[in-house]
């Protein structure tokens, strides 16, 4: 099996007519973990939503391909079935649908008709992954994200990631609002996925999560594109100096911040 590859080239994204991402390039291969850091409102989450295909985000130029296939031509569900996964910053609540039913439907959606996962196998796998994330078994029968705390929602995102086993995952501020224990569970989940067949982009403000999930590369995004790339040491430097130091170094002036 060839190592999967996600290629983002010169991506431009607008939200409601406002240009937010302006020339974003990134190449991730299976086995790699990249971190994308940067100040608020700089377009990090917009990149994530655009790659997954949120209808509000309009790609105005550039390309995103997974193993050579153009993701931007696909509907949201097709992108997922092609191997993309986005752990969302604000996961939706779906009342009346249990986590277990949701996951089984999603898994079977990938496997296709006639090749559904046997129920017992599904339950066993789910139990195992929930154990690893130290999630109460009751979560399987609870409605999707309904009444979940912020931390529980994030853990539920990681559970889905582990159950669906995508080729690439983008974790969009998975660490925001998490206490140190929850952070460790999330890291444990992501680290358990590490393999040649899995690549990951971690979007975060803070270096903290990267203590637990060691990135191969760290990218800093400002004003809609990547301005600097380095190793894990770059994240540590940012933590100490803040983004202002880097802006000064690179001679970057602030864009008007955007909410996205």
């Amino acid at each position: 099996m060839t190592v999967p590859e996600l290629k983002i080239q010169d991506l431009h994204v607008s939200v409601e007519g406002k240009s937010i991402v302006k020339g974003f390039d990134l190449d991730i291969k299976g086995g790699e973990i990249h971190a994308l850091m940067g100040p608020n409102g700089t377009g990090k989450s917009t990149v994530a939503s655009a790659i997954m295909g949120h209808p509000k985000y309009e790609v105005t130029a550039g390309s995103v391909s997974l193993d050579g296939e153009n993701l931007l031509d696909m509907a949201v569900d097709e992108r997922a079935r092609a191997g993309m996964f986005l752990a969302m910053q604000y996961p939706s609540e779906v009342s009346g649908v249990t986590n277990a039913d949701f996951l089984r439907t999603a898994i079977n959606g990938r496997r296709g008709e006639g090749n559904e996962i046997p129920l017992m196998k599904f339950i066993k796998t789910l139990d195992k992954k929930m154990d690893l994330l130290e999630m109460d078994q009751a979560f399987a029968e609870r409605y999707v994200n309904e009444g979940f705390s912020g931390g529980e929602k994030k853990r539920n995102e990681i559970l889905q990631l582990m159950m669906l086993e995508p080729k690439f995952a983008i974790l969009d501020e998975i660490d925001s609002g998490l206490d140190i224990d929850a952070l460790k569970w999330v890291a444990k989940g992501v680290n358990s996925m590490r393999s040649e067949n899995f690549g990951c982009l971690i979007i975060t403000h803070y270096q903290r999560l990267l203590n637990y999930i060691k990135p191969d590369k760290v990218h800093v995004m400002m004003n809609g594109h990547i301005v600097k790339t380095g190793g894990p040491e770059l994240a540590l430097r940012l933590e100490e100096e803040g983004y202002d130091g880097m802006k000064a170094e690179l001679g970057i002036k602030d864009d008007e911040p955007v909410e996205a």
């Binding site: 209808p55 569900d77 997922a80 996964f85 969302m88 939706s92 009346g96 949701f102």
Partner: protein, 433 residues
């Protein structure tokens, strides 16, 4: 508007004969005849925003028969699926006959009565009389009077003081006689400190063609008693339904309604709870799916009379195809009902451009010291939910189905009989799918 002079297609002599055949007590026959006269005079109900004058409420055959079944293994499949393994505490009606009845010896010994209305009239006539048309009113309009005239079925459940029944009591109505009408009257009387769960299923076969259903249920909840009432309505598209479920709750009593309203034909539904006693409470949950070109009108009404009475009303409807449904939720807090707390929420999900749906929240409050709230919305499937499910690889149509089924889940969850729960879940799936 021109006054409609319409003579009903029912003959007094035939009605007397029908009553005689069923060995009904004289007072009951008299009420039938009086009611038939009233039905001729009284106008049809006037549901808000739904025109019903061309619905066939009155042209049907009420004198039909069913096939008795002694062995539960030989129930027709549609019925067998709904009944629990032991076929215990269940009453089955086929057309205008009761065809099967079981009440556990233990409950009989405790004084519980559970039988069809015709038998109850013969064996417990005075008790029936005590509750018959006491919660609902006979002369409300043409359909209530017509009901009293033509009753051809129904169930009677009496739970004595202090008797707590743990297992659900079940009634099933199956209609398949051509051009027939089911006129079923249900009485549930729960004496003080008693507790019971009752679940009814209405279903019909395509062989009915054009027909009618006229159903009235009266529930009396005594002091500190608890009644849970579940229902799944599933009449075929040729059947015009009038259904009225009413309850009266005494001091500290509680009444829960869990209604799955899955008819395929035109339906006029009234559900009303009178919280008469102090500290009484009601929890109403009703879900429906409009499909094809059916028209439906749902009126859910809670009246607070008792102090510190509490009500929760949740109504959800999904509208497909060219269906048209009107949802009224009315919460009335009477003067003197201080400390009352009434909340209502109605949500209508529009699944097609040709469908229509309308939710009207109404609060009428005549007391100062109360809590009351309402929420009503008519909208489409939430695009963020859809995006979320699709982002996990679920196809759009499947995702939409999941969301709609989840939206209608609250009633499914409340039904205590596995077979009926499955029935409702399958009906939702079929109607939504």
């Amino acid at each position: 508007m021109a006054t409609q002079v319409q003579s009903l297609p029912f003959d007094t002599e035939e009605l007397v004969h029908f009553s005689e055949k069923r060995n009904e007590p004289e007072w009951f026959t008299d009420m039938r005849l009086k009611a038939l006269g009233l039905a001729e005079e009284l106008p049809l109900p006037k549901p808000e925003k739904t025109r019903i004058d061309d619905w066939n409420f009155t042209d049907f055959n009420y004198d039909t028969t069913g096939e008795p079944v002694t062995d539960p293994a030989k129930f027709p499949e549609a019925i067998g699926k709904l009944v629990g393994e032991k076929a215990e505490n269940v009453l089955i009606h086929h057309n205008s006959d009761r065809i099967y009845r079981n009440l556990s010896p233990d409950l009989s010994r405790k004084g519980v009565i559970f039988t069809d209305l015709a038998t109850a009239l013969r064996e417990n006539g005075e008790l029936v009389k005590k509750y018959y048309f006491k919660t609902a009113s006979l002369d409300k309009h043409k359909l209530s009077a017509l009901h009293a005239a033509l009753i051809n079925g129904g169930s009677f459940l009496y739970v004595p003081k202090n008797v707590v029944i743990d297992t659900p009591i079940q009634a099933i109505y199956f209609q398949d006689a051509p051009s027939s009408g089911l006129v079923a009257h249900t009485i549930i009387a729960a004496e003080p400190n008693s507790s019971v769960t009752y679940v009814e299923s209405y279903l019909s076969g395509d062989s009915v063609g054009d027909g009618a259903a006229n159903l009235i249920s009266e529930v009396t909840v005594g002091e500190n008693a608890s009644v849970k009432y579940g229902a799944v309505d599933n009449f075929t598209d040729g059947i015009v339904t009038y259904v009225n479920r009413q309850g009266n709750v005494d001091r500290d009593g509680s009444l829960q309604w869990a209604l799955g309203q899955m008819n395929d034909g035109n339906t006029l539904s009234e559900n009303a709870t009178n919280l008469e006693g102090d500290g009484s409470s009601a929890d109403t949950k009703a879900v429906s799916v409009g499909s094809g070109s059916q028209k439906q009108n749902f009126d859910n009404y809670i009246r607070h009379v008792g102090k510190a009475s509490v009500s929760r009303l949740l109504v959800r409807g999904a509208q497909k195809d060219a269906s048209n449904s009107i949802f009224n939720a009315r919460t009335k807090i009477e003067h003197g009902a201080s400390g009352a707390d009434g909340e209502q929420a109605q949500r209508v999900l529009m699944l097609s451009d040709d469908a229509r749906g309308d939710a009207n929240p109404i609060l009428l409050i005549d007391e100062y010291d109360v809590i009351a709230g309402h929420a009503a919305s008519v909208g489409r499937v939430d695009p963020d939910q859809l995006y979320y499910l699709m982002s996990r690889g679920i196809k759009k149509e499947t995702a939409e189905k999941l969301i709609v089924e989840g939206f209608l889940e609250p009633v499914v969850d409340l039904l205590p009989i596995e077979g009926v729960r499955k029935q409702l879940a399958e009906l939702i799936e079929r109607k939504v799918g």
